[in-house]
């Protein structure tokens, strides 16, 4: 399968502080990849860098190759801003964590849905309206006509996130970046939105980069998982493999710290001790070693682990993964 | 910080010139001469006016009245505005609601026109102008102090003082006033700028301190008629007003930021 997007050694810094280190990953067409990690691990920074929305204060190195709808492949980091704009909202679309704050309060929903279309694919007003209605139906908004002429403050949080998804889908992007799209929503609404995304993926065949800290969601929606810690991918692989046999102690810790409502036997929640380190003062060696139960003095605190394949398609960054398995 | 420094330099320069005006020029500001409307030369740097008086000397001496009026008016405005603002901000509720309405109304009214009307009745002495401009500018001071007092009232340390049994008589002078002092200082400088701005406009319109005392606005008015003969007659006092207002404005706006 063709990779829609592939990053090589993506490194992002703000001033002297590096928050993302040599990140390399790829997403194939139609694939749902989850980027998982605690808050502060650099997930959202990665998402914004793919969109080219980090702002001037950020320095981004490495490469981000995108294969566009028109067949060409380009490195987003070397494109001029003008060509980047033709890609944003068109080949790449993003939905955000805060649906309540992500719509412009002074425009009607209809105008906001058709805005990206009008920029990337100019068409007559009537056609734009038809398209907006179709999009609202595709995200299962109850009363699409009424919604078109509504203002954002008249919609609920769940409805607003559906509108955001409709906006993101308007130009049929190759890749949808969903940055914690359900975190701010109620649990029932959350399930509906996830269902909707899964269904839309099946219908459109777009790839999805799903950013979350919620492992339950990952298992439901993702084909593949990237686990991020302190700006690095520490474990990656097919969802079943990573969940079935986590190799990196951090991933295993994340799993144990997750509340399981429907477990057969009561399971203790074991939070990982400590906090995500400040990117300005990363511990030497493996960044996770101060919080790791398996860390070995003289080894984990000096050598930086490189990704190693522990099974086909399953990579891990841990100096001791073989010993821990054994 | 640089803004503030620029403002201070301008203010110091103007104050210095006004204070030592007799030492800086060879002529008294009211001393008439035989050369009328002479263009600038080595003897009279800004030339002479329609009565043969040295323009430079009049500009330098004119700074005294302007500075006194500006600082005096700002002082009056603070004496009225600070307590009013503190009261409204600290009491909150109905008192605040009414006080805010009154302040907004006063700010919406044209201060210059108000000052014109009052000056026409009371007569344009320095003291009158100070009182009038202070009266016209207090609502701005009060509104700002109110906003700050309102914020600080809700702050945790005031909450803590209140929980410890302190009442308004203690809290307002001990906790709120010191915290709004910076804002008041900044607003003081801005009010000086506004007062000099307005008082010079008043005297330009013919309601300044009475002649023959030198007075920037009035000098510009006369200078306007002789703009093609001795431009410095109008331009020099204009520049003096501009520099002085700019200095206080920079000081005030720089202190706030």
């Amino acid at each position: 399968m063709v990779d829609v997007i592939a990053t090589q050694h993506l490194t992002i810094g703000f001033g002297a502080t590096r928050v993302v280190h040599r990140l390399s990953f790829s997403i194939a067409a139609g694939e749902v990849v989850a980027l998982v990690g605690e808050s502060g691990s650099g997930k959202s920074t990665v998402a914004l860098s793919l969109m080219g929305l980090l702002g001037r204060s950020a320095s981004v190195e490495g490469s981000i190759h995108l294969s566009r709808k028109n067949g060409e492949t380009c490195d987003l980091l070397t494109l001029p801003e003008r060509r980047l704009r033709a890609i944003r909202g068109n080949d790449l679309a993003m939905i955000f964590q805060e649906p309540m704050a992500s719509l412009d309060p002074i425009y009607r929903i209809g105008a906001q849905i058709t805005e990206a279309l009008a920029v990337h694919r100019p068409m007559p007003q009537a056609a734009l309206r038809t398209e907006a209605l179709r999009l609202l139906r595709s995200v299962a908004i109850a009363n699409p006509e009424a919604c078109l002429s509504a203002y954002p403050h008249q919609l609920s949080g769940g409805q607003r996130q559906r509108v955001m998804i409709a906006i993101a889908l308007s130009c049929q992007p190759r890749l949808l970046i969903a940055d914690e799209p359900t975190t701010a929503l109620d649990a029932t609404i959350q399930a509906q939105i996830i269902d909707q995304l899964r269904q839309l993926r099946a219908e459109t065949g777009m790839a999805v980069l799903f950013i979350t800290h919620d492992l339950g969601l990952v298992r439901e929606i993702a084909d593949r998982v990237l686990v991020m810690y302190a700006g690095r991918i520490v474990e990656s692989g097919p969802t079943e493999a990573v969940f079935g046999a986590p190799r990196m102690p951090y991933t295993a810790g994340l799993m144990r710290s997750r509340p399981r409502l429907f477990a057969e036997t009561p399971v203790r929640i074991e939070p990982i001790p400590g906090n995500v380190p400040n990117p300005a003062h990363l511990p030497p060696g493996c960044a996770f070693h101060p919080r790791c139960a398996h860390s070995q003095p003289g080894r984990c605190d000096s050598g930086t682990p490189e990704p190693e394949a522990c099974a086909p398609g399953h990579q891990v960054c841990c100096l001791r993964w073989r010993e821990i398995v054994a | 910080m640089t803004r503030r420094a620029c403002g201070l330099v301008l203010i110091l320069a103007v104050t210095f010139a006004a204070l030592f005006a007799p030492l800086l020029t060879a002529y008294a500001p009211t001393q008439t001469g035989v050369f009328f409307l002479a263009p600038p030369d080595a003897a009279h740097w800004f030339g002479t006016d329609d009565l043969g008086r040295d323009v430079l000397s009049r500009v330098l001496h004119g700074g005294r009245a302007s500075l006194v009026i500006g600082v005096g008016a700002a002082f009056v405005a603070c004496v009225i505005g600070v307590p009013a603002g503190l009261l409204a901000g600290y009491c909150g509720g109905r008192v605040d609601l009414w006080a805010t309405q009154v302040m907004n109304l006063c700010i919406a009214l044209p201060g210059l026109v108000l000052a014109l009307l009052i000056t026409a009745v009371t007569g344009p002495s320095v003291l009158n102008i100070v009182l009038i401009l202070g009266f016209v500018s207090w609502p701005r001071v009060a509104r700002l102090v109110r906003g700050q007092a309102f914020l600080i009232r809700e702050a945790l340390f005031v909450e803590a003082a209140r929980a410890a049994g302190a009442d308004a008589v203690w809290i307002v002078p001990m906790h709120i006033l010191p915290n709004v002092a910076g804002v008041i200082a900044a607003q003081f400088a801005l009010t000086v700028a506004y007062a000099i701005f307005t008082s010079s406009s008043l005297s330009f319109l013919g309601l300044g301190i009475p002649p023959p005392s030198p007075d920037w606005g009035g000098m510009v008015r006369t200078g306007l008629d002789y703009l093609s003969i001795n431009p410095a007659m109008g331009l020099a006092p204009s520049a003096a007003v501009g520099i002085t207002v700019l200095g206080f404005y920079l000081l005030g706006s720089g202190t706030r930021g």
Binding site: R88, N90, A93, I106, I167 | L105, L112, L224, G242, V245
Partner: protein, 312 residues
């Protein structure tokens, strides 16, 4: 929009009556007696009392106010003490002149403040320029700025005719060259204060999350600014436009006086200097009413432009 404006104006009427009554009372109170204003500071107490009695100023303030209002509503603002001309006839022909200059300055200042601060290209160049202009506008009194412009453009460069007024009837070019400097002068202060308020709002809106979401759609920076940041920042500024109306009136008085323009501002100054109480009172009332109406209009505009208020 019109319905809202009508409703606000209906609400503004009692407010206007209260304010004019206050103005009437405070004018009378401040002045003590109109006769004192008319006779000057050297008048004796007796002559003041006599004149007050003759003109009916010894009656209670409320009676005088109702009397004045009653006449005013019938189109009678009294007669000038100086020219003995009817006040309406003195004021009415001057009103359009002031309105024209005031409105042009208002429009110019508003557009300049909004456009200069919403441009995204060459921002490193335009922003400092916009700030410089704003500081000039705020710190230079109208007569200083006007004098500088006259000296530069009329005396030195001789690009424009000198001060004075030329009516529309003298032809558009002549009218335009005479109105240019007054409008520029008058707009400066307004531009400055508007710039400070608008820019603070603009920068606050630019930091909001939906701006990032709009950028993600692929809009250019300038499109984001025109369509989203600027309109959202404009909303709270509308109220400011109404509130600083008073400043504009003060500026108009000085500007008209400087350029010898026959508007109501210069008439007000002349009447104050010649102690022409009926004219002063009439213009004062007109000014207060326009400030009240302008504020009501700004409120209505705000309500009409803000969907969160409109729907309720």
């Amino acid at each position: 929009m019109l319905a809202i404006l009508a409703r606000r104006l209906v609400w503004a009427i009692p407010g206007g009556i209260v304010i004019t009554a206050l103005l009437f009372a405070s004018l009378a109170g401040l002045i003590g007696s109109p006769a004192a204003l008319m006779l000057g500071r050297d008048a004796t107490a007796q002559s003041i009392a006599e004149l007050n009695a003759r003109l009916g100023f010894d009656r209670p303030i409320a009676t005088q106010y109702l009397d004045w209002m009653g006449h005013a509503l019938r189109g009678d603002l009294g007669r000038s003490y100086v020219t003995h001309q009817s006040v309406v006839e003195a004021v009415l022909p001057r009103l359009p002149v002031t309105l024209e200059i005031g409105l042009l300055a208002l429009v110019l200042a508003t557009i300049a403040a909004i456009v200069l601060n919403s441009l995204t290209g060459a921002r490193a160049l335009i922003r400092p320029l916009a700030t410089l202009l704003a500081v000039i506008g705020i710190t230079l009194p109208n007569f200083v700025l006007g004098l500088g412009l006259i000296y530069l453009l009329c005396v030195t460069l001789e690009w424009l005719p000198s001060v004075g007024w030329s009516a529309w009837s003298n032809g558009v070019p002549d009218h335009a060259t005479h109105i240019l400097l007054p409008v520029l002068t008058l707009s400066a202060y307004y531009y400055g204060s508007l710039t400070l308020v608008f820019r603070a709002e603009y920068d606050a809106v630019a930091r909001r999350l939906f701006i990032r979401a709009v950028k993600a759609k692929g809009l250019s920076d300038q499109q984001v600014s025109w369509r989203h940041t600027m309109p959202n920042a404009l909303l709270p500024v509308i109220t400011t436009i109404g509130l600083s109306m008073g400043q504009l009136v003060g500026g108009a008085v000085v500007t008209e006086s400087l350029f010898s323009i026959p508007g109501i501002g210069s008439l007000l100054v002349d009447s104050i200097l010649s102690r022409d109480y009926p004219v002063v009172l009439a213009i004062g009332m007109i000014v207060v009413f326009s400030v009240v109406i302008a504020n009501a209009a700004a409120d209505a505009l705000y309500a009409a432009a803000n969907p969160q208020v409109r729907i309720r």
